[in-house]
Assembly symmetry: C2
Homo-oligomer: 253 residues x 2
């Protein structure tokens, strides 16, 4: 089972920025627009949250709003920019709580907030951001994250790297968990059932001889793994390791 990812051309990044900061010139003549950018984005978010990013097509959003497909292009330059705005909007919903304590407590809280965000908007996991659209939501999130590691002896570049590391970790961890849950929902086969179903076939192939560790560990994990409990556990394990790693760096100074 797998997901495949595709490039989705985001048009002019400048257009995304105009949308995000509300910099479009207001029209003076002509009929009142029936919609607003916010309404389009809200409808798109509703669909993506409920049915995934694949279901969020231009035609589908237009149907949701009761207008023709091409009407949306009056409000949004294209699908790419729409996703940009959706992303910034989702980022903007982060609580960004002020947490007492040291950097570790703060960074731990940041990781958990981001995790919650991904669980609420799983489609975000499918939108990869190298140069994110610098909207208000993205900026506030970045600022909040940097605040957690500010003044603890890291250089600017290291601060950015540390924050990126935590973000990357959470992204990967939640994606695994969400995918696993998705697979179970769509296939109706639990992890245990899946392992049990494949054990005989793998035995036939002779994997216990060729791949002794893989079959031992795989079988153990397959038997002991309880998706909801252990996805939490796995998250904790990895996050602790990542934060330990940053702590080691700090103590070495």
């Amino acid at each position: 089972m797998h997901m495949s990812q595709e490039y989705s051309g985001s048009g002019d990044p400048a257009k995304s920025l105009e949308l995000l900061w509300g910099l479009q010139a207001k029209p003076t003549r002509g009929p009142k627009p029936a919609l607003t950018v916010d309404k389009v984005v809200a409808a798109a978010l509703r669909i993506a949250d409920a049915e995934g990013l694949a279901a969020m097509s231009i035609r589908r959003v237009a149907d949701e709003l009761g207008v023709g497909a091409m009407t949306l292009y009056r409000y949004v330059p294209g699908k790419g920019e729409l996703i940009d705005v959706m992303l910034d909007t989702a980022y903007g919903e982060l609580p960004l709580r002020e947490v007492p304590g040291d950097w570790r407590a703060k960074l731990d809280a940041v990781a958990r907030e981001i995790r919650e965000m991904y669980l609420k908007h799983p489609w975000l996991l499918q939108v990869a951001v190298s140069r994110p659209p610098l909207g208000p939501g993205v900026m506030a999130k970045y600022e909040h994250e940097l605040h957690a590691v500010n003044g603890i002896g890291l250089s600017d570049v290291e601060m950015d790297a540390a924050v990126a590391l935590v973000n990357g970790y959470v992204h990967g961890a939640v994606r695994s968990a969400v995918e696993a849950a998705q697979v179970i929902r769509t296939s109706g086969i639990s992890d245990k059932e899946w392992w049990l179903a494949h054990e005989p076939l793998l035995d036939k192939i002779g994997d216990t001889k060729k791949y002794p560790l893989a079959s031992r560990v795989g079988t153990t994990v397959g038997h002991e793994f309880d998706a909801p409990y252990d996805s939490d556990h796995g998250f904790e394990f990895g996050l602790a390791r990542v934060l330990d790693g940053i702590a080691t760096l700090l103590h070495g100074r």
Copy 2:
């Protein structure tokens, strides 16, 4: 700029396994097949490596092989299963070097090998695997990874978690780097140019007041960042943190 990822239904996982282990019954009657599964997979890999997963359509692969589109369905049940086999094939190309030294040296080598694999087959970054097709390549890779952390005092479940942590880290790190390079290639705008282009706009919005850390660190990173040099550096930084984290866990015992 962003990439969007979509679910790609992989048909019957059982069919993927049959393909991967060559378990299909050989036909006795009828004309000789003009192609083989291997040839189809090789052509698909060629296209995906060179032009990305989005370009790897059934029709495109068929063209590459000089046959009609529907001919491919004689060899592969569908696109999902084809990607499964491509993935296992790519995993199977890993060198899986035996490295002298302790677990850290071995795990470090594993991480670097996986990194090379992703750089050679960037489309792998777009294929998310929750329940990977358990072909020979996947099994050998898993076995090799577990070998690095075997006998150092981790439970089976912890071994799996540690290996997953490293895999997740490398995946995230390489993806960021590849995306960044891709954005530069397609847009023709370097990171520095991008930051410089956006600085005035962000100043206008007042980000230096609202987002003091983000604008300071962002500007520093934007100015100091040299893509090829610093993507290596960022990888080293994160990998060291992750391995430090595992080391801390081990020392605590």
